[in-house]
Amino acid sequence: MRGPPPARWLLERVLPPDERVGVVNELDEAMDAAFPEGGWRAGLWYWGQATSFALGFAVERLRERAAGPGSPGSRHEEREGRPSVRRPRRREGWMAGLRRDLVFAVRTLLKRPAFTAAVVATLALGIGPNTAIFSVVNGVLLRPLPYASPESLALVRIDLSGLEQHPGIAQAEVLDFRARAELLEDVGAVSREFTASLTAEGRMEAVLAANVTPNLFPMLGVSPSLGRSFTAEEEVPDGPRVALISHGLWERRFGGAPDVVGQDLEMNGTRVPIVGVMPEGFQLLLGPGTSLSPNIDLWLPMQLDPEFRDFWAFRAIARVEDGATIAQAEAEIQSIGARLVEEYPDEYANSDIRFYLHPLHSDLVQSARPAILTLLGAVTLVLLIACTNAAGLLVARMKAREKEIAVRAALGAGRSRIVREVLLESLVLAFVAGAAGLGLGWLGLETLLAFQPGSLPRVDDIVLDRQVLLFTLGAASLAAFLFGMIPAWQASKADVQSALREGGRRGSGGVRVRTRNALVVAQVAFSVMLLIGAGLLIRTFNELRQVDLGFDPEHVVTLRAPLNGGELEPEERWGIYKQLLDEVRTLPNVAAAGGTSIIPLSNQGMMASYSTDGSLDTNWNGSSADYRWVFPGYFATMGVELVAGRTFDAGDNDELVGRVIVDETLAWQAWPNGDAIGQHFTIGMGSALDTTLVEVVGVVSHSRILDVRREVRPQIYLPYRTGPGGNMWLTVRAEGDASQVVASVRRVAEAVGTGRPVHSVRSMESYVEEAMAGTRFTLLLMGTLAGIALLLSGVGIYSVIAYLVRERAHDTGVRLALGAQRVDIIRMNVKEGLAMAALGVPLGLGGAVGLSRFLESQLFGVDATDPVTYVGIPLVLVALAILASYIPASQASKLDPATALRDA
């Protein structure tokens, strides 16, 4: 077992070269002995050790150098036999002076462990979250995609008949762009993911598969780690069927056997030879809406048909020629698109098609970017709060050291020397805090990745690497500068005479208190900004939970029940499914059962166009609607309300006539008078010339099946029998716990003989949860950061008031002696705390209004300037200020006047 890489990196940088190997190896061994199981405790232990080694050896090396020539361990001794000349101290170089000051700073800090620990902890709380979130920014947003020259890769998206930025084009268009676009070096395509059943040794497994054009992998600069890629003849219609498998499937199913190439794969009942294995970790990363999982296990060659022009379902990736920009290439394919519309008037009639090229990387991360940037903003605020807090602590310490500094200045220490010392102290503090923050960030990142919502792209690229370490180093240096500047500036103005004369009791205390007050005001303001962000997200999440989905996910379990494919006639398929449904309905604890071709909120959808005036002679010439096939019983199972007419019965499937159920939205749009039942209209699905006249038999309430946040499109439900699929989802409503019926449904499916395994068993609630997971995750992180901000601000206010109380012990004693009530003393001090909050809150509110527009895209059902949040958060801060100042204030009120007057 080895320690966490960033900690090892730190060690390797700090240890003297001759100690490196031994210490690093032996620490691994000691960690193994202490934590044989590994885990986060081992990581934490290692970080502790690495930090203590780094500090210990840093000081040791400084000591060795400061000890000078002739002393053990100095460079002179190591270079044996060379006479050393001892130079007079005064002429020592600038570097030597710096070294001495550094040793001095470390010693000064070690002398006050409580103060040092407080500053380091504060700063580590600021740096840690930055490290964690920057790792995400780095892995997701900054690091180039793992393909050859990724900056010239782009995804084709289209606008089509009211559909915006749809990530699919037609097969013929892929061929057209390849042939005509001069600015495109190549165009490859990939299908949506689909499930394939693999059979080996009598065992069946459902895996995710996709079709790709043979040129795609070479275009990305990826070649199989074993065997070969697809060849051009495998792209043509009816070309040979072969397969590439993922590294994972190779290890799982074939035990990593090197002779897998050439073996046959039994897929959906047919045999397909394996031609190669993709490299470990390879993922085809495409953006939202592309319905392509990064975890595809089986790649098959896509056979492009030049006649297939009106089914826009294939994701096209283009590589732009060297020297051309993506924008130039986009202009070119738009003009090619315009020519295509002229050449193929039937296929493109009224489609308003328009092509776009999106850089592959920004397309992939576009939906995650706002949340990540929001979090980056939040951690920056936390770092600022931590810096102001640390500055406050340092300023207070300067007060205590005033006399010492004055004495040294009087003895001839230059002002610049003193300022340098103070700055160096900050720097040492910042670097120690940086190391601790790195450990904290590592822990935070592990936690973050364990809870990430699954919608975060490029999760595998999120690691603590060199860039992150450099960032942390930068953040620590910035922090040192930010919080070290103020005390250094104050040290430079130290008034020697008055400090000495007054014995350091009053001195420039006024300025200092004002500085600290200002720092706390700034902290309160930053906290308000952060808390308002968190508050708005809490409100958003609440609103999301309140959304009327139009269906009831509770107690519903969904599972996919594919039939064994090609050789079945449509009525045979319906026969099997009908029997399956009938038997499932008789199972104990099953309240209702139905099924659908697409599960709600599963990020999948099919689009049809429809027209009520018979004008739909071709596809894409009407309004668009979402459509899916359902089994009888679907609406009852899902709790979708029937508004008018009836739901499907078995007869709708047996007779194979066009009867449909529409949602209220479509019924209202098409027949505003409310007489939808019995009306006929045309729908076009898939291919342009494939339009059907259908009759409305029922109207149901609209369900949020595409997006929890909004109504996307009207909906059309068709009876299963009119659809082609043998790959339906069952939806089963249970009495009570839905998971209990899963096993019996599985048994029934096997008994009925669907021929392929039931898979993807999930509760309907989990789909709803997943649709909100991104928001919940951002909220969780923002909440944590807001908690840190509150803690730090509370400590900030507390320490200022506690400091004031100590300063004023004498005055308080006088007041108490003169008859002041304890409550007066408390009131006086709490007022000071409140005054800081009163100044900070409006500043923070102003800042929050300024920043709120960045948050807008992530809010739902609440305004970015939501009054509830903008009133509530200040109250939290005021309560915090009262609490944080009440504690020292009540201590002050308990002073014994006699003691106070004597000691102060």
Binding site: V21, G22, Q49, F53, G56, F57, P72, G73
Partner: protein, 108 residues
């Protein structure tokens, strides 16, 4: 030139190397100090002490071959030199002579 006396941890480290058969490396040394002296010392402090002892010439050290197991790693081994033993003996007798005659005082 009167050489500086040994630090507390330096003494513990020298003694534990000797107790461990005068040829050992960091991990057992730390364990030996913890189990025998009943003291928990920071691991880093032990390694720094070893470094100082090496620089003073009281111990010698060399890197071992990696352990003959998969993933075996090289370690830095230490051996106390005659100068080190001499130094320990010196310090022990100094301490013992300081203790002489103090027993009654302590028992009182």
């Amino acid at each position: 030139m009167a050489r500086k006396s040994l630090g507390d941890i330096e003494q513990l480290v020298l003694l534990s190397i000797l107790r461990l058969g005068n040829e050992t490396y960091g991990v057992p040394i730390v364990e030996e100090i913890e189990s025998c002296a009943g003291r928990s010392v920071p691991r880093a402090a032990v390694y720094i002490a070893l470094r100082r002892l090496r620089q003073k010439g009281l111990v010698s050290s060399w890197m071992s071959e990696p352990d003959p197991v998969p993933g075996g790693k090289a370690k830095r081994f230490f051996k106390v030199e005659p100068e080190g033993i001499e130094k320990l003996a010196e310090q022990r007798s100094a301490l013992l002579s300081m203790w002489e005659g103090l027993q009654p005082t302590l028992d009182r």
